[in-house]
């Protein structure tokens, strides 16, 4: 933690940490504690005063069927985004690590989407699925499927899942490829001498050896799906049609900034904070220790 050889105490270190501490206090700790405090308040209808109500906001959420629906929707959404992007990335990385020459070439072609903002990913996909003009809509029509994500909630969900997963494939691919390339060649060769084919080697050796990466990526992808996909939903579906794509982070924004239900929105923020902290703790504790080798 601290260097064995270090400088003696002086005012200097305080000056050095001051900028970061000031920003942390003003823009992180103060707002987070404000959110917590606000979650115990209910504002009156005219915004003139507020009343301290303890856990009433949470109780309202607990009984609110819309919130329950948003919660499960978020769970399904994030699991599907994580599964789709990680599965696709695993397949690609599994084949890419077989290529001796050209692995870097494929990597260069596959990492582009990482650089693209979620909202842009949404714009690209919504263009391809445009109900009247989109290229994929055109092909789907020939298959007998009518696509209109403005009317069909299931199709809207499919669209945001595809856009969110597409953007994340690049990230997962990089981590899987790096993990696979760090497996010693001798292990793979030994299995090959024993007569294991490429598929067998992948499932019995490579896949178990990279399981720490899989767990790490699972947490990262869940956090990504929970928060960073806000841009996609905000730009592409606005949580609709109806509320078929309203996930938790979009609901916090919508109830707070559009609906001006400050207490309810703050209570939702607090629940999200607890979820993020839980995921971070899982990542630090569970994932690093209990993975089977």
């Amino acid at each position: 933690m601290l260097k064995r050889v270090h400088f003696p105490s002086s005012p200097l270190p305080y000056l050095l940490v001051a900028p970061q501490l000031a920003i942390t206090l003003i823009f992180f700790i103060w707002p987070a504690s404000q959110a917590m405090y606000q979650s115990f308040l209910i504002e009156d209808a005219f915004g003139l005063g507020s009343e301290f109500v303890w856990f009433e906001n949470f109780q309202v959420l607990w009984e609110d069927s819309h919130y329950h629906a948003a919660f499960w929707r978020t769970a399904v959404f994030s699991v599907l985004v994580a599964a789709l992007s990680m599965g696709f990335a695993l397949i690609l990385a599994g084949f890419a690590q077989r290529v001796v020459r050209g692995a870097m070439f494929y990597r260069t072609l596959l990492i582009w989407p990482y650089a693209i903002a979620p909202v842009l990913a949404g714009a690209l996909w919504v263009f391809m699925f445009n109900p009247t003009l989109g290229i994929l809509t055109y092909f789907l029509k020939h298959l007998g499927i009518t696509w209109n994500h403005y009317l069909n909630g299931g199709q809207a969900m499919t669209l945001v899942i595809l856009a969110a997963a597409w953007k994340q494939v690049a990230y997962n691919f990089l981590f899987y490829l790096a993990a696979m390339q760090s497996i010693p060649n001798s292990v793979i060769e030994a299995a090959a001498i024993d007569g294991a084919g490429p598929g067998r080697r992948f499932w019995t050796i490579i896949f178990p050896l990279i399981s720490p990466t899989t767990f790490f990526l699972l947490v990262i992808n869940m956090v990504y799906a929970f928060f960073e996909t806000f841009g996609i939903i905000h730009a592409v579906t606005q949580g609709g049609p109806g509320s078929s794509t309203t996930i938790l982070v979009y609901k916090v924004f919508n109830d707070g900034f559009v609906g001006l239900d400050l207490g309810g929105s703050a209570a939702q923020s607090v629940i999200l904070m607890v979820l993020v902290i839980a995921m971070t703790v899982v990542q630090f504790r569970y994932v690093e220790r209990k993975v089977e080798y």
Binding site: K3, H6, L12, L16, V99, M273
Partner: protein, 283 residues
């Protein structure tokens, strides 16, 4: 490769090529849309091969009036705003985390662990979960519609501090001992030894943070009400809304292309640093 199997090799390349096509398709469609004129882009089926209107579209998007019927800032100004925000966020983060990591690793002072934990907490709180109160703070400080308001609340992050802490911990103790014997003070040691030693880490982190800054969406959306402060990434939403009335897909997709070229260029041209930065900051 362990053994030679022609069929397996063929399948390997086939799968990878199909994967590349699937990943590249949305970007290709965007590029194609930016090379056709408005009339062609309003007829289904849309083209799959580029046309010859790219320069005209680029000129109209960058310096023209943009989309008809919308009041947005000129695209060149939005690109400039995005660039300023991305640079301020990435350079600011690097500067303040270098200093605080230096203090935490190389000095013994009261409340050192308190400082460490306060920074550590920010690792857990994405801006999305505390938007309302943060917005109030920024509004009270009068930083709405300014570059400061766009960048400073996003500057504090524990990840960069942690990375530099790891880097500094690997610097051998003899470095500091010999520097002190030669009479160097703390800041001299920082400038002349620590900074040059962590040069590649700084560059790698810069690539990641530049992309992070450029791609910000929710925060700029909330704190900029003045159209002259909008960033290119947030303008896409307004354009998609306008597209429902007058679909000028050639202009919209040219704007989208302009919004993704800078970060893609950074990732591809500094690929090695990018991969290094990604695996170091997140693990």
């Amino acid at each position: 490769m362990v053994e030679n199997r022609p069929l397996a090799n063929f399948i390997t390349h086939l799968v990878l090529v199909l994967g590349v096509i699937a990943i590249a398709l949305p970007i290709w469609i965007t590029f194609v849309a930016a090379t056709h004129d408005e009339i062609r882009m309003a007829q289904a089926p849309l083209p799959l091969w580029p046309g010859n209107q790219l320069w005209i579209n680029l000129k109209q998007t960058l310096f023209g009036t943009g989309l008809s019927g919308t009041e947005t800032a000129p695209v060149w100004l939005m690109l400039f705003n995005s660039l300023s925000m991305a640079l301020m966020i990435s350079l600011g983060k690097i500067a303040i985390s270098l200093l605080s990591a230096f203090a935490i690793v190389y000095f013994k002072f009261p409340f050192r662990m308190t400082c460490f934990w306060m920074i550590f907490i920010t690792l857990m709180l994405p801006v999305e979960v505390r938007i309302l109160p943060t917005f109030e703070v920024v509004a009270n400080l009068g930083m709405l519609n300014s570059y400061w308001g766009l960048s400073i609340p996003l500057i504090a992050s524990a990840t960069a501090t942690f990375m530099f802490r790891q880097v500094f911990l690997t610097v051998p103790d003899e470095m500091l001992e010999s520097a002190r014997i030669d009479g160097a003070g703390p800041m001299r040691f920082f400038w002349d030894i620590l900074l040059p030693l962590s040069r590649t880490n700084i560059a790698a982190l810069f690539v990641i943070l530049f992309i992070f800054g450029w791609n910000q969406y929710l925060w700029p959306l909330l704190i900029t009400t003045d159209t002259s402060m909008t960033t290119i990434v947030m303008s896409i939403k307004q354009m998609l809304e306008a597209a429902e009335q007058s679909p000028q897909w050639n202009i919209i997709m040219t704007t989208a292309l302009l919004a993704m070229i800078p970060p893609i260029f950074v990732v591809i041209s500094m690929q090695k640093l990018f991969v290094q930065g990604l695996t170091e900051t997140d693990k």
